[in-house]
C-alpha cells in the first residue's frame, strides 16, 4: 500500500531536489533519470496491489485524501511513468544548454505528480486537488520556451481555469447531492438521482474533461500550446497530458455514473447522451485533422493530430459497446506510443537542424536514417495502417461503430483517417524525402541517448500492432472492473463471431508478400544508387543551385476544395467572447467615473433601491 505514497512522495522529492539544484543541469538530469526509473519500476510492481485502498489521514471538509489502485489507473500509471521516463532519457541530450531549461525537470515532476494524483485518487476532492495541480503545471510546461509559448500558454490557462471551475461546481454539486466525495459511494447512490439532475451533473463533468482533452469545439488552445514549447514537452503533452481528460471521461462515464445510468439519458429516439457525445467526437476527428493539412510546422501539424486522435478515443467510448470502449482505451496507449515516437523524430531533426519548418527541410533520410525509421513507424501508426498498433485500436472502433449502427460516426472516423494519411505523408515527405538542401550536408544522426527511446517506442508500436493481446489483457480486466462486457481477445487479435482480426497472420502474409517481391526484385539486374542531382529534369541538368523540390503548398488542390467550408467559426467565436469580455469590463470600469458627486448619488440610489427591494421581501 505504501507504493502509492512512495510514488507520490518520490515525485515530490523530485520537484524538491530539482528546485534545490536548479543551478546544476547535470545533477538535475541524473536525479530525474534515477527517480523516474524508480517510479516506472514502482508502477509496474504495483500490479498485485490492484483493488486496494489507501488514505492519507488528513481531513478536508470531513474527508480523507483517498487513493485506490484499480486496473484502470494501473493502466494509466504505467503509461505516465513509462512515457515520462522515455521523455527524460530523450531530454538528457536534447535539453542541454537550451535557454529556459532551468526548471525543465521541476515542472516535469510537478506535472507527473499532478497526473499520478489525479489517476490514483479515489474521491472527487482528491481528484480535484490534483487536477488543479496538474493544470497549473501544464501551464508551466507550456510556458517554457519564450514569448509565443507564453501567449499560447495563456490561452490554455483560460480554458483550463474554466474547466477547473466547471469541475469544481460538479464536484461540490455532487457532494451536496450525495453527501460524499467518494467515487464508490456516489456510484452506489447514482440510481436514486433524478434523470435530469444526472444529465446535468454528467454534462458538467464531461464538459470539464472535454476541455482538458481538447474536444471540438474547445480544442483551440492545444495546437499552439503544445507546439510553442520545447519539442520534448510537445511529445509529453500530446502523449499523455491530454489523455488525463480521457481518463476522467472513462472514469465518470463508466466508473462513477455507470453505463446503465448513462444509457438512460435519452434525448429523442436513438439520440441519447452518448450519441451527442459521439457527434462532438466525430467533429473532433474531422475538423482538426483537416486543419493539420494546412500546417507548415511539424510540431503544429502533430499537435493538430493530437487533437484529432482524441476524437477516436472518445468515439470509441461513446459507442458504448465492449469493442468500442476497448478500442478507445487501447487507442490511448497506442496514440501515446506513436505520437511520442513521431515527436521524438521531429525533435531529433530539430536538434540537428534547428528548425521544424516543413518548408525548409527535406531529404534528411540520407543523413538521419534512424529518425526517419522512427518517424515512419510513427506515421504508419498514426495513419492507422497495418501492421502498426494504431490500426488495431482503430479497427476496434470502426467495427464497433459499424455493428453498433452508427454509420455516420464511422464515416467520420474514416474521413479522419484519410486526412491523417494525407498530412502525415506531407510530414515525412517534407522532412525526410525530396531534395536535401545543401546547408544540411553535414547533419549527423542523433546520439544513443536520443535513439534509445525511439527504438523502444518503435518496438512498442510494432509489438502492440502484431500482438495487441499484450495490452488487451489489461484492458479486458479494466472493462470487467468497470462492470462492462470484456472484449474477447487473443494474443494477436480478436475473437469474434463474424469477421475476425489476427494481426500475426496479417503481418506474416505481409512479410511473405515482401519476401516474394524481393525474390522477383533479385531476378532483375543489380540496382545502382545515384545522387539526388542525377535526376530527370525534363532534359535539363541539375546542380545544387537548382531548388528541385516540391513541398510548399503540398495539397493546394484539396485546400482549394475545402477552403469554402473553413469558416473559422471557432476562432471568430473565441475572438468574439474575448472582445465581449473586454467591452463588458470596459463598461463596468466606467461606473467608477472619478466624479465624487456621482459617487454620492450612487449611495443614495443604493439606499432607495435597497428600501424598495427589501420592502417587498419583508
Amino acid at each position: 500500500m505504501s507504493i502509492v505514497s512512495n510514488l507520490l512522495l518520490l515525485t515530490l522529492l523530485g520537484v524538491l531536489l530539482n528546485v534545490i539544484f536548479y543551478k546544476s543541469e547535470v545533477v538535475q538530469k541524473y536525479i530525474s533519470l534515477i527517480i523516474f526509473a524508480i517510479l516506472t519500476y514502482l508502477s509496474i510492481v504495483m500490479y498485485p496491489l490492484v483493488g486496494s485502498h489507501f488514505e492519507i489521514p488528513f481531513l478536508i471538509a470531513g474527508q480523507h485524501i483517498g487513493f485506490t489502485i484499480t486496473y484502470l489507473n494501473y493502466y494509466f500509471a504505467l503509461m505516465i511513468t513509462g512515457i515520462t521516463l522515455l521523455t527524460v532519457i530523450f531530454s538528457l541530450k536534447f535539453i542541454k544548454g537550451k535557454e529556459g531549461n532551468t526548471h525543465y525537470y521541476t515542472v516535469l515532476f510537478l506535472k507527473t505528480f499532478g497526473m499520478l494524483g489525479v489517476i490514483l485518487s479515489s474521491d472527487l476532492l482528491t481528484f480535484f486537488v490534483f487536477w488543479e495541480i496538474m493544470s497549473w503545471s501544464t501551464f508551466a510546461l507550456m510556458s517554457t520556451g519564450g514569448e509565443p509559448a507564453h501567449r499560447s500558454a495563456f490561452k490554455y490557462f483560460v480554458f483550463a481555469v474554466t474547466a477547473s471551475m466547471i469541475l469544481m461546481a460538479g464536484v461540490i454539486l455532487s457532494y451536496s447531492l450525495f453527501g460524499s466525495f467518494d467515487f464508490a459511494v456516489i456510484h452506489g447512490k447514482m440510481a436514486s438521482l433524478s434523470l435530469p439532475m444526472t444529465g446535468f451533473l454528467l454534462t458538467i463533468f464531461i464538459t470539464s474533461f472535454s476541455i482538458e482533452s481538447a474536444v471540438f469545439p474547445v480544442h483551440s488552445w492545444l495546437p499552439d500550446g503544445y507546439s510553442n514549447t520545447f519539442t520534448t514537452f510537445t511529445a509529453y503533452l500530446s502523449g499523455i497530458s491530454t489523455r488525463i481528460g480521457i481518463y476522467g471521461i472513462i472514469l465518470f462515464l463508466f466508473g462513477v455514473f455507470g453505463i446503465q445510468t448513462v444509457d438512460k439519458l435519452g434525448i429523442i429516439g436513438k439520440i441519447n447522451f452518448r450519441y451527442v457525445f459521439g457527434i462532438f467526437a466525430a467533429l473532433t476527428m474531422i475538423v482538426p485533422t483537416f486543419t493539420a493539412l494546412y500546417q507548415h510546422d511539424a510540431k503544429k501539424l502533430i499537435a493538430w493530430h493530437s487533437v484529432g486522435q482524441g476524437g477516436y478515443m472518445l468515439i470509441g467510448l461513446a459507442s458504448g459497446s465492449a469493442l468500442g470502449i476497448a478500442g478507445g482505451m487501447f487507442h490511448v496507449l497506442n496514440h501515446m506510443a506513436y505520437v511520442v515516437l513521431i515527436v521524438f523524430a521531429i525533435a531529433s531533426v530539430e536538434y540537428r537542424t534547428g528548425t521544424t519548418n516543413l518548408n525548409k527541410l527535406g531529404g534528411l533520410i540520407k543523413k538521419m536514417p534512424v529518425s526517419y525509421l522512427a518517424l515512419l513507424f510513427g506515421i504508419i501508426g498514426l495513419a492507422g495502417l497495418p501492421p502498426m498498433n494504431g490500426f488495431v485500436s482503430k479497427w476496434f472502433i470502426y467495427r464497433a461503430l459499424i455493428l453498433g449502427g452508427y454509420p455516420f460516426l464511422a464515416i467520420a472516423a474514416v474521413i479522419g483517417t484519410l486526412g491523417t494519411i494525407l498530412s502525415v505523408y506531407k510530414l515525412i515527405h517534407n522532412m525526410f524525402l525530396g531534395q536535401l538542401p545543401e546547408r544540411y550536408n553535414d547533419v549527423k544522426e542523433v546520439g544513443f541517448s536520443m535513439q534509445l527511446p525511439m527504438w523502444i517506442l518503435m518496438i512498442v508500436v510494432l509489438g502492440l500492432g502484431v500482438y495487441p493481446g499484450l495490452a488487451m489483457g489489461l484492458i479486458a480486466k479494466i472493462q470487467v472492473s468497470l462492470g462492462l462486457a470484456a472484449v474477447p481477445y487473443a494474443l494477436h487479435g480478436i475473437k469474434a463471431a463474424s469477421g475476425q482480426l489476427d494481426m500475426l497472420v496479417v503481418s506474416a502474409v505481409f512479410i511473405g508478400g515482401i519476401a516474394v517481391t524481393w525474390i522477383i526484385y533479385l531476378l532483375g539486374n543489380r540496382r545502382k544508387h545515384v545522387g539526388q542531382y542525377n535526376n530527370y529534369a525534363g532534359g535539363n541538368f541539375l546542380n545544387k543551385s537548382v531548388a528541385y523540390n516540391f513541398n510548399y503548398e503540398f495539397y493546394a488542390a484539396l485546400e482549394h476544395v475545402i477552403d469554402p467550408y473553413r469558416k473559422k467559426i471557432i476562432e471568430r467565436t473565441e475572438r468574439g467572447i474575448a472582445s465581449v469580455t473586454d467591452a463588458v469590463s470596459e463598461y463596468i470600469r466606467r461606473i467608477y467615473t472619478g466624479m465624487i458627486n456621482t459617487y454620492g448619488i450612487y449611495v443614495v440610489t443604493a439606499f432607495v433601491v435597497t428600501i424598495i427591494i427589501l420592502k417587498e421581501l419583508i
Binding site: 466606467r590 467608477y592 467615473t593 472619478g594 466624479m595 465624487i596 458627486n597 454620492g600 448619488i601 443614495v604
Partner: protein, 121 residues
C-alpha cells in the same frame, strides 16, 4: 403646542430637510468647499434628529439647576451626550476635509470636482 405641529414633528422635519438639503448640495455642487458645507448641513440635520429622540414633552433640560427637580421631569440626557460627541467628530472631520482640500488645491489648482478626476475607471 397643540394641533399638528408638535415639537418632535418640527424637529424631525427640520432634520430631514437639513439632511436632504445637505446631501443635495453634495450631489450637485462641483466646488469641494461647498460640498463640505453640504456635509456639515447634513451633519447638523442628524444632530437635530439625535436631540429630538430624547425629547419628552414638557420636561426640562437634564441639568440639576433647581432644587427639587426630579429625573422624571428632565428630557433624556443620553442623546445630548451623543450629540456632543457627534458634533466634535463632525467638527474634526470638517477640519480634516478642509485641510485635505487645501493641500489638494495646492497640487491641482482647482476645486472643481469635474476637473479633479485623476483617479478614475
Amino acid at each position: 403646542m397643540n394641533g399638528i405641529l408638535s415639537v418632535s414633528t418640527v424637529l424631525n422635519t427640520a432634520s430631514a430637510g437639513l439632511i436632504v438639503l445637505g446631501l443635495y448640495i453634495v450631489f450637485t455642487q462641483k466646488n469641494l468647499i461647498k460640498m463640505v458645507i453640504g456635509l456639515d448641513l447634513a451633519d447638523t440635520g442628524v444632530n437635530v434628529l439625535l436631540v429630538s429622540t430624547g425629547y419628552i414633552k414638557g420636561n426640562t433640560a437634564p441639568i440639576f439647576s433647581k432644587a427639587g427637580l426630579q429625573v422624571s421631569q428632565m428630557v433624556d440626557p443620553v442623546p445630548q451626550a451623543l450629540v456632543l460627541t457627534s458634533i466634535v467628530i463632525g467638527f474634526g472631520v470638517s477640519a480634516l476635509a478642509l485641510a485635505l482640500i487645501i493641500r489638494l488645491y495646492q497640487k491641482t489648482g482647482t476645486l472643481d470636482t469635474s476637473k479633479i478626476r485623476g483617479l478614475k475607471w
